[in-house]
Amino acid sequence: MNGIVSYGVHLPYWRLDRSKITQTLGQGGGRGTRSVASFDEDATSMGVEAGRRALAAAAPGYGGPGILAYATTAPGYLDKTNATAIHAALRLDDCVPAFDVGGAAKSGTAATIMAHNGGIAVLSDVRTGRPGSADEAAGGDAAVALIFGDDAVIAEPVGYAPVTAEFVDRWRVPGESYSRQWEERFGEHAYVPLATQAVGDVLKQADVQIGDVDHAIVAGLHTRSVKAVSKQLGCAPERLADDLLDTIGNTGTAHWALMLANVLDQASPGDLVLVAHLADGCDASLLRVTDEIVAFRERQRSTAAEQLAATTTELDYSSFMTWRGFLEREPPRRPEPDRPASPPSLRGNAWKYGFVGGQDDGGFIHLPPGRVSVESGAIDEMTPVPMADRRATIATFTIDRLAYSLAPPVVAAIVDFDGGGRMQVELTDVDPAEVKIGDRVEMTFRRLYTVDGIHNHFWKARPVRS
């Protein structure tokens, strides 16, 4: 039986209180909060974090995905595949193919279809809009990874009914940082019948009634249509899944999967889940939760709700604007970081992306891996040691108020890993005033900076909050 065997969510540490938009601009905003990818996050790095969680929660004996499919509307690169960085950071075997899928919100579904036969689908998005726009306030940033397989399935597919349609409701020319929309009522006119058709088809396919559905997920970037379809479904209001719009916002490509993850976090064995995703048509799916969900929860690191609880809303609108590139601020009188060079990056792939150190015969761990042992001087007797999932303790630290950063000051620490290994590392998602010797940190994959259009992805440490 094929189905979802594991999943993982990444929610950024930061959320913006929408009222801060109104306070600053006198317009936009609204109630609630939206999640915000930090200045050092992008869709790729968030995808890695979600993927790590999903892989960590897979059942014992899980052999790894056979394919990686990555979908986003905010790709770091064109021409170059973004999924390969995720592939490298997840330390997947080089025989496992990795693909990017499209730039449309609908492409999350495509990634899922590509991965449904034993792969991992990574859906990650950074959503934005012009300052003061509805999209800016309504958007959200998050990543979800879904792993499919035959063993220990936690949610099995019962039906899938796509309806495809061509109409120009939302569009964005490549290179622009925000999208545009046709008049709202037109979208509703176009979407509602498509969704009605897709949902009807999938229920018929599975021979179930809407009353049998325990959790109904309706997602899409067209808020008015999503609301209308939710209302017209005919299922009891308490069976409509939380749309997460008040807290996280609409996370685009990732949103239906984020809502699904949130449902699976709470669902009971046997529950029937309907997913209707409105994007250039409608994709409707039915899933049935299995008994395996119980064992999965014991392996799961954190639910979406737990991650949400560990976020902060102490983000200024000015920082949000700066991180998004809408507010260019005076840099320190220091040179910008220089471009990472491709040949050394390739040579050090396992370290740079996979965070794999080297361990000598005596057990001493070298970060980064070297050829010569610190302790014995032995040459080329190192074995690779993956370090990304080990926690560490701060030995000493600093707050660098002079270094170049989009979010000064730079906080850095010397950290000692559990089981050995030391490195100097930048801290992220941290209050500089709270850092102290002895604090516990965990590793997180980030985009350190971008120079000459090259994104420098590497690892940082963040406080352990759970």
Binding site: P332, R333, R334, P335, P337, D338, P340, A341, P343, P344, S345, R347, G348, W351, K352, F364, H366, L367, P368, V374, A395, T396, F397, T398, I399, D400, R401, L402, A403, Y404, V410, A412, I414, D416, G420, G421, R422, M423, Q424, V425, E426, I437, L448, N456, F458, W459
Partner: protein
């Protein structure tokens, strides 16, 4: 240990040092001309009398042509050396060895750096191609790791640490106020130092050395020839330079309260010079006070204070100009700024002045001049890199042959 040293084999017979500061009106060439001319004049020789040159600069030029072109050196060996912030000291060390070997009669060690023309504050280090995986911290941040680590290890709370750091900055500015070559020639109140805007960790602006331009040079001859040039030569007792294995950045056993490289080079230098009790035997020390916590830790690494006691000695004034062992009597990097290639030779210049009795208002009273009783040896210390990953240089020079 097969580090034999060249105790009393070579001598400095002339030195020159430009004022250090923001030399908007001077080029690298100008400063090289000034310091070399002052050095040759000091030794009573012509440039043509110099047989070989060692030029130290980290980022102000490449190859021996950086010196030969402005000085019109006529087809002689000019060696360009670089060893981070110990670059000037490295030029000196190599020039000394060249003379001691018998290869040359007269050598010049010269260091120069032009930092202010970059347009940036702080050091700008030329980078080799890299994979982007190293945290790119500024120098003050890298050295500020010392402060919380030292406080944690020895139970010194953050306010006490701040007091110690302030005391070091205050002392060095006080000394620099007596030095016409210093970049900053004013005393600075402890309150101003303590309340200055923070740069990195607990380090404020006044905990950091300035950014300046400068050059310094020395003329080196065989010790037996020294009195042909001057009545007051300074003899080289010890030269020790080490590059560490840089394990502190990867080894959890390193605690960021010491520079192991300094301990090694100091131990070697004391052995070469036959010094057993540095605090008693040395008249003064010029040390690498790039940042105030660095000077604190150096007091222990160089054996001037017991481990964990350096902070108390600093507060007690042990290292003041009129203290038991004056440290950075010329004002240090703190008052001079830190033109990389020049700093090591600037430190030697102060030893040169003090041991000859030419330091004016800041002349150290314990120094024995012209055969009079008193101390006759000085130490210079220069390091590069950052805690856990350093190069370190220690020299000991003296006004008398042992």
């Amino acid at each position: 240990m097969a580090s034999h040293g060249i105790r009393d084999q070579v001598a400095i017979v002339g030195m020159g040092c430009t004022p250090f500061g923001e030399h908007w009106d001077k080029s690298v060439d100008d400063m090289l001309v000034e310091s070399s001319s002052a050095a040759t004049a000091s030794a009573g020789v012509d440039l043509d009398d110099v047989d070989a040159f060692w030029l130290g600069t980290m980022g102000s030029g490449l190859s021996g042509l950086t010196l030969s072109r402005p000085l019109k050196v006529d087809h002689k060996p000019v060696t360009h050396v670089e060893n981070y912030c110990a670059t000037g000291s490295e030029a000196f060390r190599n020039a000394c060895y060249a003379v001691a070997s018998g290869a040359y009669d007269v050598a010049m060690a010269i260091g120069v750096e032009k930092l202010k023309d970059s347009g940036y504050s702080g050091l700008v280090v030329p980078n080799v191609a890299h994979d982007g995986s190293s945290a790119q911290l500024t120098a003050p941040a890298a050295f500020s790791f010392l402060a919380p680590a030292y406080g944690e290890k020895y139970g010194v709370d953050s306010q006490e640490m701040k007091d110690v750091m302030t005391r070091i900055a205050w002392k060095n500015h006080k000394n620099g106020a007596l030095n016409p070559r210093a970049q900053f020639q004013k005393e600075v109140s402890k309150e101003t130092i303590e309340c200055a805007p923070l740069i990195a960790g607990p380090l404020g602006i006044f905990d950091c050395s300035g950014v300046s331009d400068g050059s310094a040079a020395a003329i080196i001859v065989r010790a037996e020839d020294a009195y042909d040039y001057t009545d007051h030569p300074i003899f080289v007792k010890a030269l020790s330079f080490v590059a560490g294995p840089a394990t502190g950045t990867v080894d959890p056993d390193y605690d960021y309260t010491s520079f192991t490289e300094v301990v090694h080079s100091a131990t070697d230098a004391y052995r070469q010079a036959g010094i057993e009790h540095p605090r008693d035997e040395l008249a003064m020390a010029e040390v690498h006070d790039c940042f105030t916590p660095t000077e604190l830790v150096l007091m222990e690494d160089l054996g001037f204070a017991e481990r964990g006691m350096g902070w108390k000695e600093v507060l007690a004034g042990t290292f003041d100009l009129d203290g038991e062992l004056p440290v950075n009597p010329d004002g240090g990097l703190k008052s001079f700024g830190h033109p990389i290639g020049a700093s090591g030779l600037r430190m030697l210049f102060e030893a040169w002045l003090q041991l000859r009795g030419e330091a004016g208002d800041r002349q150290i009273s314990s120094i024995g001049l012209d055969g009079a009783p008193g101390k006759t040896k000085a130490l210079t210390h220069n390091l590069g890199g950052s805690p856990g990953s350093c190069v370190s240089f220690v020299s000991i020079v003296g006004s008398r042959l042992d």
